[in-house]
Symmetry: none
Subunit: 194 residues, 4 copies
């Protein structure tokens, strides 16, 4: 978060709302400027171009998202508790911010390859957090020792992401957060009968 740049933040917040309400392609720069209460040209004093607004939105929001999870995980003792906390917070944060959920799960995907790569870079620290939990689990012998981290991480992230997307597509009609424990159990024990 750029300090002492009130307009910067006003534009970021306006962008999230406008994109969530209108969809990515109907979110003209002029609409964002209007919602932010600045002139169109002012946008370009703070952002290189329209794409840069989007990346910045994701950076700011994802930065906070990941930070919250990191803090919450910090004082959990083992991988089990950490993973459960991560899942719960992943769901909680998106369930708490309707606009953000729409933007991250639907609108931000409507972008070209270049933008997708930038988004992936922003996402990297989150994937690192997941990797760290997996490694800790392996060291604790809670998780399988032959677990390849990328594979396990893709299962975890893929599952969470698919769940949130489904929930958004279903117009958030059901409770997402209450499923955190079940998801955790399923990821830990897999499909098989005990």
């Amino acid at each position: 978060m750029k300090k002492n740049k009130p307009k910067y933040n006003m534009i970021i917040e306006a962008a999230v709302k406008v994109i969530a309400e209108n969809g990515y392609h109907a979110s003209q720069v002029s609409k964002i400027a209007k919602k932010a209460g600045v002139a169109d040209g002012t946008i370009y004093l703070y952002f290189k171009n329209k794409e840069d607004i989007l990346v910045s939105v994701f950076e700011e929001k994802m930065g906070q998202f990941i930070e919250q999870i990191k803090v919450a995980i910090m004082d959990k003792a083992d991988a089990h508790e950490k993973l459960l906390t991560l899942i719960r917070m992943h769901f909680e944060q998106l369930a708490a911010d309707h606009h953000l959920a729409i933007v991250t799960q639907l609108e931000l995907r409507q972008s070209n390859l270049g933008l997708r790569r930038q988004i992936n870079r922003v996402l990297k620290p989150y994937l690192d957090v997941i990797d760290a939990i997996i490694e800790q689990g392996v060291e604790e012998k809670t998780y399988q020792t032959d677990l390849t981290s990328p594979l396990a991480r893709q299962m975890i992230f893929g599952t969470l992401d698919e769940m949130v997307t489904n929930w958004v597509m279903k117009e958030e009609k059901y409770d997402l957060v209450s499923q955190a424990e079940a998801v955790h159990r399923l990821l830990i024990h897999g499909l098989q009968a005990k």
Copy 2:
């Protein structure tokens, strides 16, 4: 697949290639027409509008994709074998068709909510196949009896989808198909140490 409509298929095939190579938004109708060897106007004899091309591409290709998997699964005896076959074929088919992989994992997501819903409708039969496997597994007592199908299905589909997307984003630098067994094991046993 519409029979006796050679132009229809020529346009579908051209569209997959052009979209994969240029991205959806840089895929002008005229570019698709040229690649298909027809006039621009001819496109509109077979498709309502540009978006309809994209949906039709997905319908045709996904139809074949699902059909292949259904056939391959048919003669497998138990849920375990069926799931492994599904995973393997999911990876194999996308690995075998570079253009299709890009279109389904990246370009198709660049669409508005309306289009997303149409895509989900096309995807539904595939999710039904996964659900059927899960139910069979539960009946066979291979899978947990308290397994809620939507949750398990979202884990399975989410994991496969995330893996393919990652692989496409990494420019298909590594072998996807060879990971099928490991993914299957992970989905079955989960993260925990045995």
Copy 3:
């Protein structure tokens, strides 16, 4: 009316209906062909191009329109009766054919200068009929002797045309034919008090 050319007439009749119902610019050749029950290409066996359809529609319909008026006037003795008959029949014929009224008063005017000139040529015989009545009236000393024919004709035709157009624009909500006598009186005596 071309004899022994049933398709020619089917196309003419279809064109009047399609233009009246959809307006000139929404009357595609394919729509006229469909209404006529022929293939698009068949149109071009009978008409040079789309504009030719329009001119032909006007020729055929105006031909009948004028012929009817000529016949009705023939056995009227003096200019007064002839003019009254012309006015009444002008109103009657258009009031009796809703589609024709729309086409002549509104849709056919939506054309370029070239088409307008052709339409004027078709209209010429009607203007000649009016001129003949005026000349007869002058000879009979019923009308002013210093009457310049073009001027009087423009007053007569302009008045009738304006009245019909107004009536069509007002969606034919009132009775046009019953105004014939009043119009005739006004044209004969002018605005002044007697």
Copy 4:
């Protein structure tokens, strides 16, 4: 006329010229923009769409047209003088502006029903002026006391409109203004011999 909007007026003036020279349908927005010395997009800062240019042209020009006539009539004493002035000015103004004459008599009629209704609304104040003259004439006992205003107005306007259209169609080869007195006499006394 919008004040302090130089571009608005530049576009209006350019539109009249371009439409008169090329016809409405061959008057591409880019052509109007070029003649006005602005970018294509600038047109859309001042007009909703292409049709709006046409309506606005008519509003501006007709507004001035009517205003001039109103002013000229104001200090005329009786209905006779007022009507003669109206006829003379109607002819004079259109004869003085070649482009405007073409646009109002020919190009403006090439429009769909919706546009026609808008044009009629703009024309309404002019028809009101004519109605007022008729009423005054009736009160003065100069005109017939049983004169129905709409009928008389349609004769007056229909005659003037037909005369100007004919003159434009004949490529303005003869003098229109010099016919004002004769038209006035004819409208007042009608066709009959004195």
